[in-house]
Subunit: 346 residues, 4 copies
């Protein structure tokens, strides 16, 4: 939420509002910088700065300090902080501008916080996701949202924190992004990498996801029918010569987009910082200690929806450039439209 | 299962049973090759070979044919088949030999098929996973396995198919593999990519996974205590100066291994081929058709456990080489032992 | 030369003479394999195989054995042999088929062997390069070739070997392959990597190359004039609205193709094996020894021309796919033609 | 030269003078920025800014504008300017700090400008290269330097420009960096990429380079002798159990360092800007025009020596990390020393 006070500066790569092909550098100043001027100084010897040796469970502190040989977990905390995802949101914003021009919309929303989730019909639903953007918790279902606000308050009171699940939906995607020919070109894997790499995400699903594993095969399929789908228009109002009535696969078959909206979900564990002291050890002495408590939010799930949206946009923009090449936006659009003409021909 | 009849030939890169540093080429001959000699011939014009235009739902057929401009879905079917994962198992076998030498064991087992799962205490349990290897369905729980066999039979009778969930556990891992410093170096993301890229996998979880999202923060943490853990010995019998009593995080914190076993799960949707004809369309004419039915297994979940084990081994072997360098196995072991001395020092 | 007796088998990725999008596996059997059956066996313990410890100067033997901890330089010799470049020629053949379809021709020829070179006007000359293909030493100048044959004979008699310089010319290239925006996307660098990575190559030049460094600036430029060039037709007979009268830059400006033919040269040192014994040391004992002499060619420069042609074709095919995307050859051609329409518009 | 007035700010990744493992961001402000504020503004529509359509020969202007669809070559000029190499020098400075700790020194010097070069014995000579740093033209030979100064003056008077050749020497390198096992891991190729990607470089050589192609084989070898070399001490005063009396190979055999100093040369064409107007065309109208003349240096060869040094340092630092892994400098040093113990054992 605090991110909204931040202002991004573009340092390079843009002229008269358009990218030039050269690298775009964004800068987001740490507004809290003054408070860290001494403790995190670039220069000097750090004289007088007491190393922080208590590793917080659930954070990067302990493995990070061991890996890099640090005695002060502050060397890990700053970069490992979810603050790093602000950079992904900046890159995602650029990716979204490209996708806009290709008729693609990517939207992240919150589908549950703690044990409370939105009505099932609001999942995998692009309109609902769009509506969610303006709500407090980025949720499309006001009743569920009210329950979630309560849960967050309860957690706050108990000195605890709340997790939840976010969903990203992308519409306007043609069939054929990604590929089945090599495992690392599969779009499901690349979405898996992008979402699972977000801080605190512990699970990722595409479409109906894990629940598909428990069903008989015939209840998990998306049959194909002739004729265009009502809703799914592609760039230039192209429509595919076939449609589906379900989207259990979440828009991916064989590691490729299949013409249906891409639907991916990511589950975030609660922020590990707790009011009640947690047992841990101190680096070096390895004695029992109480975990250092940084000031912390109670629930970062709405922010995670924004980050998940950004990461998905980056993956999709990559997949478009891979398939349609083009160094100039005009070329990309032309190449893409020609492909749509080919595959939409009847 | 049929894989067991296959024999892998090593064509290069190995001498007197040891890799040489140069590329290792494996060859697995398609035993069914004779039957495809004409239809899938390398040369000729394909005269007399009728294109197969009916795209099977749930497979790569439709997006694959559109993407590459094929009129015959056989051009897609062969490579998109799960048969491709045999190559991953070969590479994984090499990765496992390296991990063996570093004291790491990676084991995949089946935790559920259809709606039936193993007893909860057999999840995240390395011993159970090891035991599972010799069972029919690669499950550690005979009662659950019996129920799953029944479910598969039921599905078979109904002309349907069965999905399930597999779990991979890796033990003997030191803290500090992977990194928090860049999103694409996070081990959770890399495991996400590796598992989500397996055919038919629609969801991936680390540790307690998605269920963590619904709990109060304090029930999701793995506190840290002084003193070595009883079980988790590293190479050369090194033990860490700390331990945990839980492993909800599945061995990863901040995108790095944390000294606990890595636990990852992947959910496989049922095989999309069904006895009952499925609605689809024919490429080009875009008329309604019944999906072409290839002979098919009912349940590929035990095979997926083997593939997931292989993919995880590849990711971990990469992470070791990244951290410890070394061109010769002796060098890698020495570098790794020195690291253990540093981080296990009390 | 011996390569001509080899037959390549295509194991996968091709059907009815066309690639499928999936990986293409080539296999080239080592015809000499029987002779190495015991000494280079995959299995067994190597009992009775005496390690070869004498490292040949000028080869990978010594650094390779130290790097990988080998006691037997045979573990290095086989893979480090120029025989490895046969695989590059196979991949290059596939790249050349793609380039053919895009109207691009890539030809390697020999411009000098030992101190004798072709007439200066035959350098950077695509027709001459084409003619060279059928000559004994792949040279376009029969007089120079005769002198080179003599030089090779002289070297042979003296128990020595001969080096030389090869040149690759690619015609039909549009402006704008490669990029100036990041150093690793520059085409001159990528050609530098591709050619310098060929065994025994010790120098690479683009266009007039090193000689440009010694001239006054004004003698090194390729001025630009309005109107199409006579010779340089692009796919579909497109011609650029400008031309040059010189090509000192070898077709690259700012790390990109500029519409002129790409001209690159690579200098090969003589094969290091000599009749006269060379001083060296034995691994492990580090005592003085005479270098082990493998049977060897006298001059590999014509073969290097073939390899350089292949490597350049691979780089150019990559650059085309990067710029024009397209999964199907029809798409690539359409995207490319559209680009030509844009840039050739007057 | 103007670079010396620049001041680099480190924005992230460094604390108390040490890198943290996280990305290091450098910022170098463009001191000339005020003058471009309007013409190169990030925002606005560029109203009143006349597009510059005249493409300068020898620059990225023409292919860059066609590639990206620009009508104003300023969109290309800024990023394609050699000014971009300042970023490489910053990254190279970090790489050099790492190499320092590993006992490796990398030095770039100028060996010729125009037709005048340093005395032959000052090439491939680390001491000479070190001495050159303090001279005006970064040359170790005052007589040659005087002639070069004169050449530059002559070129200036003639409204022309001067090119030249730079050489980079790296000492303290162990055998075994890089590898012969795959073409893209060969260090000669990677040096080729790194140097050829520097603006205006048209040729690269390793060791005696192109001249080796013209000699009989026996005059091109570096025989190997028992016993340590006098000069070439590695980290911790380790010395190899063998030495050479020559270094014609420039320290690389089989794509790997061989224990001798790495010697690479890069030839820079003269800066293409000339006083006398050059013929060119205007984008879009394609009419004859005189090339736009930016203010320009006469000779950038000494600056190129600095850039070549930086790029070589980056390649070598990469090769060290690849071979020795290690996330902490202490680990890297330990792993490296152990390797030296192994290969220096007698």
């Amino acid at each position: 939420m605090k991110i909204e006070k931040d202002r991004v500066e573009i340092l390079s790569g843009v002229r008269f509002g358009k990218t030039l092909g050269s690298p775009v550098a964004f800068m987001l100043r740490n507004l809290d910088w003054e408070n860290w001027r001494e403790k995190m100084a670039r220069g000097g010897e750090g004289a007088g700065v007491e190393p922080l040796g208590k590793a917080r469970p659930g954070h990067a502190d302990l493995p990070g300090a061991l890996k890099y040989g640090h005695r002060d977990v502050r060397n890990v905390i700053e970069r490992a902080s979810a603050r790093e995802t602000a950079a992904r949101v900046m890159a995602g914003a650029a990716a979204k501008r490209l996708l806009d021009a290709l008729g693609v919309t990517v939207t992240g929303h919150v589908v549950s916080i703690g044990p409370f989730g939105v009505s099932r019909d609001l999942e995998g639903n692009p309109e609902a996701a769009g509506r969610a953007e303006s709500s407090v918790l980025r949720m499309a279902d006001p009743d569920a949202e009210a329950r979630c606000v309560k849960w967050i308050d309860q957690m706050k009171e108990a000195g605890s924190t709340a997790g939840g699940v976010v969903e990203v939906i992308a519409t306007g995607l043609p069939p054929g992004l990604g590929s089945f020919v090599s495992w690392d070109r599969r779009l499901d894997g690349r979405v898996g990498l992008a979402l699972m790499s977000i801080n605190a995400i512990k699970g990722v699903e595409i479409g109906d996801g894990i629940s598909l594993a428990g069903l008989p095969g015939k209840e998990t399929l998306d049959e194909i029918f002739p004729g265009p789908s009502g809703g799914n228009l592609l760039l230039g109002n192209h429509s595919l010569p076939f449609h589906r009535k379900t989207n259990r696969a979440g828009g991916l078959e064989g590691g490729m987009t299949n013409g249906e909206p891409l639907v991916a979900r990511a589950a975030m564990k609660p922020i590990p910082t707790q009011s009640e002291p947690l047992q841990t050890v101190t680096l070096g002495s390895w004695e029992l200690a109480s975990a250092h408590k940084e000031r912390s939010d109670i629930c970062a799930v709405p922010a995670a929806a924004v980050v998940a949206e950004a990461m998905t946009a980056i993956v999709l923009a990559d997949a478009f450039l891979e398939k349609f090449g083009g160094d100039a936006i005009g070329d990309i659009i032309c190449n893409y439209l020609r492909y749509l003409e080919r595959i939409c021909a009847r």
